[in-house]
């Protein structure tokens, strides 16, 4: 039997290119695959020159192909556009219109990269996939359970987006960059003569040009010829006083200060959006503080659902500094009550609450 085959998910960026280079250098049998997720020719009104966040542009495919050519590995482009639109783009839009703040990267990891891509890899004969995520995976030799740890480079750690991975997915996944810092990865890529070693990091949400998700949602509906349901409504203070009108709940996220269009003595922040009434509630910074939250759709990684309350650190958005908390899992393990030691600012429905013990990722769920 020949050496097992590894499929490297290559985006054309420096990280996944370095993964291919590292595995190749170790003498592994690899193929490169680029997932075509979104057709950049759609929504042409959003295409301005120099826009950031252009996933799956032809340039990226050419870059990935050039890297594969330098490494001398077989390379393929696979088309997952239908899947991506159904599992990532449409839920992303639905969440915003429901007054929540979604994380498309997590949906993409759960339903595309570590689901459809794994299936495609297996179908073509690759038992294992490798990606450029900054996270570490190791199997606990005593229990056989796969555990996840933060990447060594804390500033690039991507475990916040990976909390949904199941044991059977992790067992077939390699994150070769988990032990490196980003500068080390760039240096390795340059050493290995990888053409994209100096390419800029990708930014924001890959299919939304310039991070303007409200414009994306409106353009998407125009393309589909659908009139989105009305999401305009009132801006209301925490005391129930009507302060103004807004043009749609999808323009607002909890903690936001800019773009309210209301002049008042003290700074005002979005405290909550009410999808039923389409109202946006605003208040003072103090009103944003929350001592607890409920997470649903919880997935456990490094541990099983704990039978009694445990002490952890919880991140409530990617750039949040994990805060001390006690968590209590419901009997099915799918719902978790989080009680913070200190109130946290801007607990945002639709974002994830991810539970850590130091750098170990215990699990996580969706903030209600």
């Amino acid at each position: 039997m020949s050496e097992p085959l590894i499929a490297v998910a290559m985006s054309g960026g420096v990280d996944s290119s370095a993964v291919a280079g590292l595995l190749r250098r170790e003498g592994k049998r690899i193929i490169g695959m680029t997932m075509q997720l979104w057709n950049q020719r759609r929504l042409p009104e959003l295409q301005v020159e120099g826009a950031t966040g252009r996933c799956c542009s032809l340039d990226d495919v050419y870059d990935a192909r050039a890297v594969a050519a330098v490494l001398g590995i077989p390379y393929y482009v696979v088309n997952f556009e239908d899947r991506f639109e159904r599992e990532v783009v449409q839920p992303f839009i639905d969440e915003y219109l429901a007054g929540r703040t979604p994380i498309p990267c997590t949906l993409c990891n759960n339903y595309v990269k570590f689901d459809k891509f794994l299936e495609m890899a297996e179908g073509v004969g690759a038992e294992t996939v490798a990606t450029g995520h900054y996270a570490r995976l190791e199997q606990n030799q005593a229990t056989g359970r796969w555990e996840m740890r933060k990447g060594v480079d804390e500033s690039k750690d991507q475990t916040y987006f990976l909390f949904g991975l199941k044991q059977e997915q992790i067992a077939r996944t390699l994150f070769p960059l988990g032990g490196y810092t980003k500068p080390e990865v760039r240096r390795l890529a340059a050493e290995m003569r990888i053409p994209v070693a100096a390419k800029n990091d990708s930014q924001e949400i890959c299919f939304v040009p310039n991070g303007d998700y409200a414009a994306f949602i409106e353009a998407y509906f125009r393309e589909k010829g659908i009139n989105p349901r009305r999401t305009q409504g009132e801006i209301v203070s925490t005391e129930g006083q009507v302060l103004g009108e807004h043009s749609g709940v999808h323009h607002f996220t909890v903690g936001q200060r800019k773009g309210l269009g209301i002049a008042k003595g003290e700074p005002l922040y979005v405290i909550a959006t009410e999808p039923a009434s389409q109202r946006v509630i605003v208040g003072r910074n103090d009103d944003l503080m929350r001592a607890s939250l409920t997470a649903t759709g919880v997935n456990w990684i490094s541990i099983d659902s704990p039978a009694s309350p445990i002490r952890v650190q919880v991140k409530i958005r990617n750039k949040h500094v994990a805060a001390g908390a006690t968590i209590t899992a419901g009997s099915d393990g799918q719902t978790v009550e989080v009680r913070f030691d200190e109130p946290q600012r801007a607990v945002t429905p639709g974002q994830a609450a991810v539970f850590y013990d130091g750098d170990r990722v215990l699990g996580g769920g969706w903030i209600e």
Partner: protein
Amino acid sequence: MAHYFDHNATTPVSAEVLEAFVPMLSGSFGNASSIHAFGQEARQKMEAARREVAELLGCDPKEIVFTSGGTEADNLAIFGVLRREGLAGRHIITTAIEHPAVLNTCIELEREGAAVSILRVGSDGVVDPDDVRRTLRPETVLISVMHANNETGAIQPLTEIASLAREAGALFHSDGVQAAGRLPAKVRDLGVDLYSISGHKLYAPKGMGALYVRDGVKLHPMLFGGRHERERRAGTENAPGAVALGAACAWINHNVHEEGARLDGLRDRLEQGIQQRVPHVRVNSASAPRTPNTTNIEFEGIEGEALVIALDLAGFAVSTGAACSSGAVQPSHVLTAMGRSAAEAKATIRFSLGRSNDAAQVDALIDAVRASVSRLRKLSPTYSHV
């Protein structure tokens, strides 16, 4: 050792073509339009090649215009007819299964003011001449219908369409890129006025093609420059390419029937082998007359792009429909024009045979297809016969 089953994409240069081609690069290097002996030597070899191409197509050598390939031949034929006079009010008829070299040329002309009718085809991938008849208008100046389809191999009813064109006073162009070399392609029998061929589909190098232009048909040139190719195609003649194309045609002129019969047998062996050993498959255009080397098979419940990759990694080169420029696979416009759903089109693989293939390779391919399809179907959420 990988085996090549993608001859409709391109073919390797054959030994006899290489033997004719290489001496042209430095020995007989002259400019075929030069006065001196160097030029005359290149000219003589190029004109001998033109006679071989003319023999392949059963026409007079002066009716052959050398081009840079099939795409240029198609562009020259279509733009060349339409741009002789103003485009306004001119009408073209073509089909939904044409190669992009024809379809996108017609779409460009539509943008520039011509009227274009794109005919559907039957579920067997063949255009109905009655549809052509119904679509003809007094202002129809050109009909363009391919001789054989690149994906299914389905042969189109050119002679019937040719008589309709003649009655209507329209010119008739056919893209013969996938037919020439695989089928007899005598232009007088077919009744066409214009016929495109491509070198690299018939064991000559890439970057070489030809257009048959019936004597008396005037074309507006695409390229402006010197008075080459009887003022139909400016640019220093690619004498090495022409000589290579001539050598390829000479081989075909001697072998087309024998090689066609051999490929037909291998193709049937492949098709029957797959049908016997892999359940729930459908051969597209099975009821239509087809080129002898092509079979297009739908494997229910799988994704063709996964099967192509799996077979590539197992050492067999095959193809889905036409690959788009990024390399990602869109559902084939040919199969969707035949009424297949996007899922059915994406479950389809094209096998195209050629000179290098033999029965042992075909049998090994059948084994690899069976193994890969069975693995993919185990993983498939849509395959319902487990």
